[in-house]
């Protein structure tokens, strides 16, 4: 193999690049990304950077010295527009075509939006988004409305409250994070937001925004109108696969990989854009979490270099989310869980750990300020332990 192109210059792409070098690959590596910046970390965008606690520099994923060491051919501000799978060639919007021996697809995802662009309405995915929202917060808005109480919404709401802003959060489901942690635990999170004076509207959707030049409010599906001068929309993401439309690859909800992250001969994928069958959970999944971008980027690079000996990619997905003074972590998959038990602490103190079971096996663990428990139970999930053994475990 003489040259590799990594498409998408963010977490998964950069970790793949580092892995190629660590594994001894010393020929050309192209790193192509359509953002104007070098790779940066996204989690601080809704936390430290939005709160104003961190300088932007702290979010860079690697220091300049690191890039000297990696010796990458970087193409920032350049988008891939097409992939010739058989010919292993990537066309770029700069007019160039990169013909290589191996390709990593790591183009991530972007925010879903509602309606036409309107001043004062934001989504949060990029550094520039965060800078824009921060400026809007600094202008002392009367009310911030957050649409969607998922990851991004709940964190932005928490940060905005900590900045002393008036916040209303609207969520279609009956609880925040309902899909990932279930209704019962989602209700605990809802209470935490209410305790921090978020006006939480559950079970109701958004039908549109009001305002001509700039947003003045949000119309809800139950007929209510909420006045707002800043609106943050956090209603999920869409994988960035448009550039693969003509490639012939399966791009239904992300680019489909086999169990080992291989998409086609010489092509692998990793991170938020990649869908694959995780044998350990017997589930085809696309994971939109930070740790997965790292481990999958690493695995995909090894798969490309070493072939099938790299093995199947079978991680126990894990995420954390910081909201107020709570560190929420969930490891595993709660899909179709049939049991849930608290294993440490209590819900009232907002400090606890609980485990989820499916078909007699432990499949997930949730912790509120219980990192040690999450990691210990995660090891049990990795090893395929039964739910009863996990309950009896001395942790």
């Amino acid at each position: 193999m003489n040259s590799i192109a990594i498409i998408g210059a963010s977490l998964a792409g950069l970790r793949a690049a580092e892995t190629f070098r660590r594994e001894g690959f010393d020929a050309t590596i192209h790193l192509v990304g359509d953002e104007p910046h070098a790779p940066y970390d996204r989690p601080p965008l809704s936390k430290q950077i939005l709160a104003g606690d961190w300088e932007i520099e702290k979010a860079w994923l690697a220091k300049p010295e690191k890039y000297d060491e990696l010796a990458l051919e970087t193409h920032y501000g350049v988008a891939a527009t097409g992939l010739d799978v058989g010919g292993l060639a990537v066309s770029l919007d700069s007019g160039t075509t990169l013909a290589v021996d191996g390709i990593v697809i790591a183009t991530g995802a972007r925010c879903r939006t509602i309606g036409e662009p309107l001043a004062g309405v934001f989504t949060l995915r990029t550094l520039d988004d965060a800078i824009g929202i921060r400026a809007a917060f600094d202008a002392a808005p009367d009310r911030v409305v957050v649409v969607g109480a998922g990851f991004i919404g709940a964190e932005v709401a928490a940060t905005a409250r900590e900045l002393g802003l008036d916040v209303t959060m609207v969520e279609m489901a009956t609880a925040p994070f309902e899909r990932s942690m279930g209704a019962e635990m989602g209700a605990v999170l809802a209470d935490i937001h209410r305790e921090h004076d978020v006006d939480l509207r559950l079970g109701v959707g958004v039908s549109g925004f009001t305002g001509d030049d700039a947003v003045t409010g949000v119309d809800l599906t139950d007929g209510t109108h909420i006045a707002a001068d800043v609106v943050i929309v956090g209603v999920g993401v869409i994988p960035n696969t448009e550039w693969l439309t003509e490639s012939g690859l399966d791009i239904t909800n992300g680019v489909l990989c086999d169990d080992t992250t291989l998409v086609a001969p010489g092509v692998v994928a990793a991170g938020d854009v990649a869908r694959w069958h995780n044998r350990h959970f017997d589930e085809t999944m696309r994971v939109e979490h930070w740790d997965n971008a790292i481990t999958m980027g690493t695995h995909a690079a090894k798969r490309l270099l070493h072939g099938e000996s790299a093995g199947a990619y079978t991680p126990t997905p894990w995420f954390w989310s910081d909201q107020y003074d709570r560190k929420i972590q969930l490891a595993g998959r709660t899909t179709g869980f049939d049991r849930f038990e608290l294993v440490n602490g209590d819900v009232e103190s907002r400090t606890f750990a609980g485990i989820y079971g499916r078909g007699g096996r432990i499949v997930a663990v949730l912790g509120f300020n219980r990192p040690r428990h999450v990691m210990r139970y995660r090891a049990l999930i990795d090893s395929g332990a039964s739910f009863d053994d996990a309950l009896a475990a001395d942790i």
Binding site: R15, E18, P43, W290, D291, I294, T295, W320, D322, K327, Q329, N369, P371, R372, V374, M375, R378, A379
Partner: protein, 71 residues
């Protein structure tokens, strides 16, 4: 040869990712603080500690080469 594990405790938020990868070196205890069990692990632990440094969400872990420090 050899290396030293350094954690920036101002950055660390005790989420125990490092402990999962290298329990021989890192431990988050019941008080929710991270403890370094062995600041100068054997060379054989280098790969695991490097992985911990990579996967630490706060980039709080550094490996310092002991030999270069002596120079």
């Amino acid at each position: 040869m050899g290396f030293k594990v350094v954690v920036d405790f101002d950055l660390c938020e005790s989420n125990a990712i490092c402990m999962q990868i290298a329990p021989e070196v890192f431990e988050v205890r019941d008080d929710d603080f991270l403890y370094i069990l062995n600041e100068t692990p054997d060379e054989g632990m280098r790969e695991k500690v490097e992985e911990s440094a990579q996967r630490c969400p706060k980039q709080a872990i550094k490996l310092e080469d002991l030999s270069s420090e002596d120079e």
